[in-house]
Amino acid sequence: MAAPAEATTQAEVGHEPGHASFPPFDTSTFPSQILWFAVVFGGMYYYLSRRFLPAVGNVIAARRARIAKDIDEATAMQTQADQAAAAHEKSLAQARLNAQATAQAARDRIAAETDAKRKALEDQLAAKMAEAEGRIAVNRNAAMANVAGIAKDAVGAIVERLIGRSPDQAVVAAAVDSSSRA
């Protein structure tokens, strides 16, 4: 069915049937190809340049703008977060510093109080000790004075027993004093 039609069309354009020339160089087909190429290419160019390419360009540009905006926002938020973290870090450090200062003050105050108490106690004790020492010294002096008197009495009694008479008080006192001093 197709073969006779082809044969007639080829006969129309002046080819010997069955011996078609190399098709790309067959000039009889050129008008058709030129016309339809022009129609198709023109149509493509018209729709692409007027409608689709600007629209695609807009889509791509809009997406780029959106991505850039998102990145900017993310960067801003990141900066904000960094700032918040820094502020938090700072307040934390401040609080730690305050806490340390308070603790130090309390420690100092307690130490001062303890020192004062201990000092008062020590003073008190020292006073008591001094008083006691004073009393001891008085007692000892008194005792020592008594010792001299006793020694003189004893010397007088011993000498009276040895020699049969009571010795001169003054001599006895001088002798006792000199021997106790030696």
């Binding site: 078609a20 098709p23 008008p31 190429f37 493509m44 695609v56 889509v59």
Partner: protein
């Protein structure tokens, strides 16, 4: 040749067949709707469909096809910007249309039993002439006579200048030829090669059982060539678009 069957005629795939015969004018120009027409329309429709989908796409995460459309957009955008500069962006729709038309035509032509629009030289010549005349007309409109500085490179000694100018003019005029033949020849040769090796497979399978095993060799070759041709299909579209950008750069900045 008739006995060998259609499988080994590698030229047959380039033949046009009329679906709807139309003639116009006194001279009865044949502007029939052919298989080439259908595949041109398919390439254009595929491009417009992809880009309309991309244009209506989401501003958030794009889908697969939207990504593809945006990739094509940014690929060509980068190409134009790097080769022709910021000023060259006014030609971005043109370069994009050229690139997508060639890419789609090449890739659709890859499907078995389909037709490769770019394997016909008249189509690639039309593409190249669009670029050539855009460069010429825009270059003269924008730069006036300065445009012809393009043919006079600076720093050339005066006594060889005529020769250099002649060479530059010839090279400028031969641009559409090399521009179009490169794409045409690549697509034509690739499809012929694929068809020849595919034909070998069919021929060998038609032979005796012992010979059938040998069919593996051209079959493996066909697979390798398929991969290569897929690369070429994309690469030639890229090369064509890239050269377009460089020629447009001449129109924008002659005298470099």
């Amino acid at each position: 040749m008739a006995e060998a069957g259609p499988a080994i005629n590698p030229i047959e795939q380039f033949e046009l067949s009329r679906f709807l015969p139309i003639t116009v004018g006194q001279h009865h120009y044949d502007v029939s709707i052919t298989n080439s027409t259908i595949f041109m329309i398919l390439a254009g429709a595929a491009t417009l469909w992809l880009m309309s989908l991309t244009a209506r796409g989401s501003l958030g995460v794009p889908g697969r096809l939207q990504s593809l459309g945006e990739m094509a957009y940014e690929f060509v955008e980068g190409m134009v910007r790097s080769a022709a500069g910021e000023e060259g962006m006014k030609f971005f729709p043109l370069v994009f249309t050229i690139f997508m038309f060639i890419t789609m035509a090449n890739l659709i032509g890859f499907i078995p039993y389909s037709f490769t629009v770019t394997s016909h030289i008249i189509v690639t010549v039309m593409l190249a002439l669009i670029v050539f005349f855009t460069v010429l007309i825009y270059g003269i409109k924008k730069n006036g006579l300065h445009f012809f500085k393009l043919f006079v490179p600076s720093g050339v000694p005066i006594y060889i200048l005529p020769l250099v100018v002649a060479i530059e003019v010839i090279s400028f005029l031969s641009r559409p030829l090399s521009h179009s033949v490169r794409l045409f020849a690549n697509m034509l040769a690739g499809h012929i090669t694929l068809n020849v090796f595919g034909g070998f497979v069919v021929m060998l399978l038609g032979a005796s059982a012992a010979v059938k095993v040998v069919a593996i060799l051209p079959f493996a070759m066909t697979i390798g060539l398929d991969a290569l041709e897929l690369l070429v299909a994309f690469l030639q579209a890229y090369v064509f678009a890239m050269l377009t950008c460089m020629y447009l750069n001449d129109a924008l900045h002659p005298g470099h």
